[in-house]
């Protein structure tokens, strides 16, 4: 026990001295949250803005009434097309409409092509309403929308914060083994430790304990920063959250162990882990929802642990609903990863380095 405490202390000291790991563990998730929070809607969904140029008075009043009745749209008047194009260039309006009495021309900024589907839908709604109102008609059929699910899921940032936390767990867990332990192996520190009375299990346990605490603190910092800066609507189920962060960290250390055992040179493990982490970041629905990906990417996404980690963390933070048995299945799978793979790491610690 005394030896274990000494190992804990030394492991903590090593971590606190390693500024690179500290930066990546604590600062990187915050950078992600701050950047994505502001760039991609931290202030919450806002109305679309339409720049309007009327060069004819014919039905102009009808068009104004139609625009006034569009949900989540506000209209800004411009004297001519040049002024509208200038406003589009400066991003003061999202898109524009020119009405010359016979043709309604929608003007889009090509630099906002990813907003195009949403803006096109708004434009189609305007056209449909204008068509009827011009002929003095009302709708005879329309869709009445009802929101189903948690309100929190409607905000992009609420979905993204738990996913970024999931990524930080994945990254910290994998690199604890594929970066830290392999670096010790490469520098032959482990070889020296194995000739001491230290038991490899005590050493691994010390690494696991320190990393789990550090990862948990890092997730709390990310969580509270998001709550303070962006006022995200997260209702954390603390027992489930704590359990999941602990198990996920262990599971990701297991994955790190698998990578370490698969590569020939210890230093290659960190490179492979970095590549895998980056691939998973883009494919696991953290920044782009899985459901808008092409079929083959959706299949690939379903094979990645980060997809399920993000899903489970969204559930534990009250963003989405999930059947409880699914949450248990995800947690159990991650726990099995750790149970199966971490013991193999004990053998790796004492195994002489392959030449």
């Amino acid at each position: 026990m005394k030896a274990f405490k000494a190992l804990l202390r030394s492991e903590l000291k090593v971590l606190l001295r390693d500024r690179t790991t500290l930066l990546l563990t604590f600062l990187l998730p915050l950078v992600f949250i701050l950047i994505f929070g502001f760039v991609m809607g931290g202030e919450g969904g806002r109305d679309s803005s339409l720049g309007l140029v009327l060069t004819s008075n014919s039905d102009a009043q009808v068009l104004r009434e139609v625009l006034a009745h569009q949900p989540s749209l506000h209209t800004v008047d411009f004297p001519d097309e040049d002024a509208l194009l200038l406003a589009l260039r400066d991003r003061r309006v999202d898109f524009g409409a020119l009405w010359d009495g016979s043709t309604l021309t929608f003007v889009y900024d090509p630099g906002r092509v990813q907003d195009q589907p949403a803006l096109t839908q708004v434009a189609q709604g305007i056209t449909a309403d204008f068509d009827l109102r011009r002929q003095g008609l009302d709708h005879v059929v329309y869709a009445q929308r009802f929101h189903v699910g948690r309100e929190a899921a409607a905000r992009w940032l609420n979905m993204t914060v738990p996913a970024i936390i999931a990524f930080s767990i994945l990254s910290a867990g994998m690199f604890a083994v594929a970066g830290h332990i392999t670096a010790m192996k490469e520098r032959k520190i482990l070889d020296r430790l194995t000739v001491s009375p230290m038991h490899p299990v005590s050493f691994l346990l010390a690494v696991v304990c320190v990393r789990m605490v550090v990862v948990y603190i890092s997730t709390l910092i990310t969580l509270f920063t998001s709550l303070a800066v962006f006022n995200v609507d997260l209702v954390v189920d603390w027992p489930r959250y704590t359990l999941f962060v602990a198990v996920a960290t262990l599971g990701m250390m297991g994955l790190g162990a698998l990578i370490t055992l698969l590569v020939r040179r210890p230093s290659s493990a960190a490179n492979l882990a970095e590549i895998l982490a980056m691939g998973m970041m883009f494919l696991s629905g953290i920044f782009f929802p899985v459901e808008i990906m092409p079929g083959f990417l959706q299949t690939l996404s379903r094979a990645l642990p980060l997809t399920y980690m993000a899903e489970a963390l969204r559930y534990t933070t009250g963003v989405v609903d999930m059947p409880p048995h699914r949450f248990l299945a995800i947690t159990a799978t991650l726990a099995s990863l750790a149970v199966v793979l971490l013991p193999a790491l004990g053998r790796y610690v004492v195994r002489p380095q392959r030449r």
Binding site: L23, D109, V113, P117, G125, Q135, V140, F146, A154, I292
Partner: protein
């Protein structure tokens, strides 16, 4: 001169022999380009997504003609059209003897769990309401209940498609009743600002961004990685005992980075043009000038980072921390607007912002946000600042 070229060529070969360098400088931009274009390049296009939609018809009265018409409409969109149009929906309906209300509850739960994009309900009295609205203008219209998850992209998309379907049905019903005159329908057109009239796809927007991202990561990670590692491992010290001077080494190293940039462009441009359908062409004076300026700017920026770090590891850590903010606060992948003043200042100080803007404008992808002189002046300013800081701070040998 030949010695310089040889030095540059050797550096390039060494970089390409390292699998990690090869991945981050060539394979990663390619993968990211393909990934982003396959995700965002087709969003909103029919057939790009097949949406899981549940449909329940609760209108079981005497006159259910309109409810049946809506049902037929949804069915027609769940199979391939005669013109080869791909199906839009995968339709889930209750089996004939199932309780429709029980089915509705189950499907709403599936929607909440994200397994359905929308649940469409034809309520009781739907057909009667439409009939009434058609016969007596001003009467309440028929309301189709669309349950969806606000903010979930597939759900939003499904709700939008349903809106559009109903708008067309609305017009068709009114036209059939002789109340809507198709000849008086509004003519619509689309205009793309600053794009000389041609439609610009996401691939055209993305390609210059990915090319600049590749150049940027080469400079940001390649320069501190190579220089600081060579210094830490005392490899540079061995160079300095040869007749090679620091300026000549620098010039050779610069050629290596520029060669890598050329290689990246050679891979990404044809990929975008021939495999992904990009229409932009870099083979013109201004785009080429912006690419050259970008390569030099990021090369000097890499030296700036190298001069701020004490070791190769610290250099990589700095590069990792500033990589994402610089990429995402520049509009490489997504436009940036409506930011708080601190982040806005970072956007305006970021050389990548101006290079992306200038390059896209020169390629005809939209009207530039900044004046052309500014898109040249800011990167040139960064080159000057980096050169001054590097000349004062970068140590070319350990403990020197």
């Amino acid at each position: 001169m030949s010695a310089l070229c040889y030095l540059g060529f050797t550096g390039l070969l060494t970089a390409l022999r390292e699998r990690v360098t090869l991945f981050w400088t060539l394979l990663f931009p390619v993968l990211l380009f393909v990934l982003l274009s396959s995700i965002f390049g087709q969003v909103g296009e029919q057939g790009a997504l097949r949406l899981n939609v549940a449909f329940v018809n609760l209108d079981r009265g005497a006159d259910t003609g309109f409810a049946m018409a809506v049902e037929t409409l949804f069915e027609s969109l769940s199979v391939e059209g005669e013109d080869g149009r791909p199906p839009v929906f995968t339709l889930h309906r209750p089996v004939s003897d199932a309780d429709p209300r029980r089915f509705l509850e189950d499907e709403q739960r599936a929607l909440a769990y994200g397994r359905r994009a929308a649940v469409v309900v034809v309520p009781e009295g739907f057909s009667q309401e439409i009939g009434g609205a058609l016969r007596r203008p001003g009467e309440l219209a028929g309301k189709l209940h669309v349950h969806y998850s606000q903010g979930v992209p597939s759900s939003e998309l499904a709700a939008g498609v349903i809106d559009q379907m109903l708008a067309e049905l609305d017009r068709a019903l009114l036209a059939q009743a002789g109340r809507f005159d198709e000849d008086l329908a509004v003519r619509t057109a689309i205009q793309w600002a600053g794009s000389e009239g041609h439609n610009v796809g996401y691939i055209d927007f993305l390609l210059p961004g990915v090319v600049l991202m590749a150049f940027f990561t080469t400079g940001l990670f390649g320069v501190p990685g190579a220089i600081l590692y060579a210094r830490d491992q005392r490899i540079l010290r061995r160079y300095w005992v040869t007749p090679l001077s620091i300026p000549r080494y620098l010039a050779g190293f610069g050629l290596t980075i520029l060669g890598m940039c050329v290689l990246q462009l050679t891979v990404l441009w044809p990929l975008g043009r021939f495999a992904l359908g990009a229409r932009v062409s870099f083979a013109a004076a201004w785009p080429a000038a912006y690419l050259a300026l970008a390569a030099v700017t990021f090369l000097s920026f890499g030296f700036l980072v190298a001069s701020l770090a004490k070791t190769a590891n610290a250099g990589q850590a700095i590069a990792n921390i500033i990589n994402m903010p610089m990429l995402f606060l520049s509009g490489v992948f997504f436009p940036v607007a409506d930011l708080p003043s601190v982040l806005q200042a970072m956007v305006y100080a970021n050389p990548l912002t101006y290079l992306v803007d200038g390059l896209r404008t020169s390629l005809g992808v939209g009207a530039g946000q900044f004046a052309p002189w500014l898109t040249l002046a800011v990167p040139l300013g960064w080159i000057s600042v980096s050169a001054v800081v590097t000349s004062r701070r970068l140590h070319w040998d350990v403990g020197r």
